[in-house]
Symmetry: C2
Subunit: 259 residues, 2 copies
């Protein structure tokens, strides 16, 4: 192996991804987060040694890996400002190509396919990690790191990662918006949204067992135009009405031939 | 109490709702499914006594409650054909008013707010039951039944149930369609859909902890037009492209003022 048994890591950023990565790395003896950089100098974890937090890029020590766990539009800028060359620098973004990183350093991607929030206590082992690197030996290091913290590691291209990110937006951000519309409908009629939670949970449980197109049911699927018309009448919000129509049409055009 | 300690029940229908109700009722000594009616004469459970299955409505015995666990468009017809009057007859449909039942009998609704499939092994206790009855004493019986099998029982009107059913279509049927689009995108690019499951599961877990409008993230939410444009370029299916646009617009119009 070209790298020492211990991987020395620097995490740049102080958002949810940075915090979750810090927490995921600390239990392992062969991973060591030697420094964390963020402009405000905040700790990523209450137990972290404050001496390891730096607020100036010039103070960055030598490490095997620098992880830019920062917002997509900050990646190019921070990677340009790094005061060293020929070291391995990765970002954690689904929608950003590897080439956004400045090529004065060795480039890579360490993309955990998950939504991170301050409130969640995730089991990092279950999170798929998608890695990419321009050099094989860098890929080997990222693979070792990913395999240490996760059971699912995939080496994919920037193009594949961009596709996955698109699919992730559909199943995560758009799904959450549907939940939010369900919430609005309940609120408007003074019904508790909590009544829908068991249904929502089972909707998700189901596609852990069967493919989503096998699980499709509902008025659109069975061409029940009476119910569809009644629902459209009930919807008072113009956006909700339009979305109901588009989703119904999309379901009908997908399964239409089978009816 | 006007009814005996034991509630004698007849289940009509042989679909998933009928089967899940049968299974939910059997553990309780004060509930007895005395007969099941369906045209094909199938058992609702392998352990069921075949002598309790009837295929002719004329063979229906006297019971405290007849549950029509049948498709929405069969409710009126079967309720008309029942060869008795003044007994309590309920349906299990979210989208069907109580008045669809023939008023020669006492009418009610027993609506379990859940999606039922053959493959699932649901904990019935967690399923919200929404009940409705035209007479108070019938409501008391349905309440007793519902409280026996579930921890969450609500008495609601047909109008409220119709609203809940609309919200259920949005968070269940439409959400599943988004999962299916995510699956299609992965398939087209030879990526395993399973990579998205931890994200999907966490999306749902999150709204069990925080309100969905608090959980909203993504390119639409942060007005990230670069990512939105790239995603629209990547989508090859016309319907998917239209849906991506409508959902993005809906998110932006909902949260626009906060940006």
């Amino acid at each position: 192996m070209y790298f020492s048994l211990m991987i020395k890591i620097v995490i740049l950023g102080a958002g949810n991804v940075a915090k979750h990565l810090y927490k995921a790395f600390t239990p392992y003896h062969d991973l060591k987060v030697i420094q964390c950089y963020n402009r405000k100098g905040v700790l990523l974890h209450p137990d972290q040694n404050p001496a390891t937090i730096i607020q100036d890029l010039k103070q960055l020590d030598k490490a095997d890996l620098y992880i830019l766990a920062i917002s997509d539009n900050a990646i190019a800028g921070v990677s340009n400002q790094l005061p060293f060359t020929d070291r391995l620098v990765v970002h954690t973004s689904g929608g950003t190509p590897i080439t956004t990183l400045n090529d004065k350093n060795k480039r890579g991607v360490f993309y955990p396919l998950q939504t991170f929030s301050t409130t969640s206590d995730l089991d990092f082992n279950t999170i798929p990690i998608c890695i990419e690197a321009t050099a094989k030996k860098d890929e080997v290091l990222l693979e070792k790191l990913a395999n240490t913290v996760s059971n699912t590691v995939n080496t994919i291209t920037s193009k594949q990662r961009s596709t996955l990110h698109l699919a992730a937006v559909v199943v995560n951000n758009f799904t959450n918006h549907l939940f939010s519309i369900g919430n609005d409908i309940c609120k408007e009629h003074h019904l508790p949204f909590d009544l829908l939670l068991p249904l929502i949970n089972e909707t998700t449980n189901k596609i852990n067992r069967i493919a989503p197109n096998q699980a499709q049911t509902g008025p659109a699927m069975r061409n029940d135009s009476n119910t569809i018309d009644r629902h459209l009448d009930q919807l008072t919000n113009k956006n909700h009405k339009e979305l109901y129509k588009s989703l119904t049409q999309s379901i009908q055009s997908k399964y239409g031939k089978k009816l």
